[in-house]
Symmetry: C2
Subunit: 143 residues, 2 copies
DNA sequence: GTGTTTAATGCTAACCATTTGCATTTAGAC
DNA sequence: GTCTAAATGCAAATGGTTAGCATTAAACAC
């Protein structure tokens, strides 16, 4: 995967095997992952990685905007995904944690309107939808 | 404040002095408060309250929908406010933590449209705006 | 390739918001 | 007033995350 190591180059981060591995796992995964999820998956390829390394890698990735973070619902852990090119939002299944990525944003106009009304300089917003994916809706009916 | 003790009655919670006090502080405050914020304020009226009591009270309030919770940005602590009658959103100042409460929701139609498009049963959403309030915009210019 | 420099890593202990166990107190019902 | 279950205080435990420090490895010059 040339593309993956390119990202580190562009971000001015050393290409270590652990960084490449975490990046690969993130690239292969559609859903949000916690640091521990990533640690467990990484150990399957490389038994000699430590959890603090995973945290430090994720911190460096977040700083360089390679990943973006999310607090799923009110859980106390942080979840990570590969950052999107464009601003995006998510439908998150409360049952299976699967994620649908929504590439458009319905509130740009609303946001600039808010800015004027309240003289508040909006820097960013969070918008996430929680509910049940089609798969989980079905299995709930059957139980 | 009759209104306050009414809320406990309706929720079927015992009217203890600590619960009434926490409720009073929440009612007087416009912004979100952490458990520790509430603990500090409560101690000013009642030196004999413990932090775990504050947590337990907040848990009971959250369960009865007397308060609603928020994870401000990516901080690891939970913030609480008196729950709104109707669904609401917020403008949160990244500098002074002040909050503007927005009583309308711009995405109801969008949400039902999403539901159909993705066959995803949306149960709730979070929408919060982060930026700088008018006061903090000014003080940044002056510095 | 070797050597040098500096950032990355592993391991362990610390941190800090939150939760829990348990003995004691108190609200609400009688 | 008595009684009972729920609420509380205190201390210890939990769990995700961060920090300290000695060791290793990328990147770069030669
Ligand atoms: Mn996404
Ligand atoms: Mn509010
Ligand atoms: Zn699902
Ligand atoms: Zn402000």
């Amino acid at each position: 995967m040339k593309k993956i190591s390119m990202q580190l180059e562009k971000a001015n981060l050393k290409k270590t095997k652990h960084r490449l591995l975490i990046l690969k796992i993130l690239a292969e995964t559609n859903d949000f992952l916690s640091a521990d999820d990533l640690f467990i998956r990484a150990k399957q390829s490389d038994t000699k990685i430590s959890l603090s390394t995973v945290y430090r890698i994720l911190d460096s990735f977040a700083e360089k905007k390679i990943v973006s973070t999310l607090n799923i619902d009110n859980s106390k852990q942080v979840y990570y995904e590969m950052a999107h090119q464009e601003h995006a939002h998510h439908l998150i299944c409360l049952d299976c944690q699967s994620v649908i990525h929504i590439k458009d944003c319905p509130i740009h106009d609303y946001q600039s309107q808010l800015s004027k009304t309240y003289n508040f300089q909006v820097k960013r917003h969070s918008l996430e939808f929680y509910g049940y994916c089609s798969k989980c809706q079905k299995s709930k009916k059957n139980q």
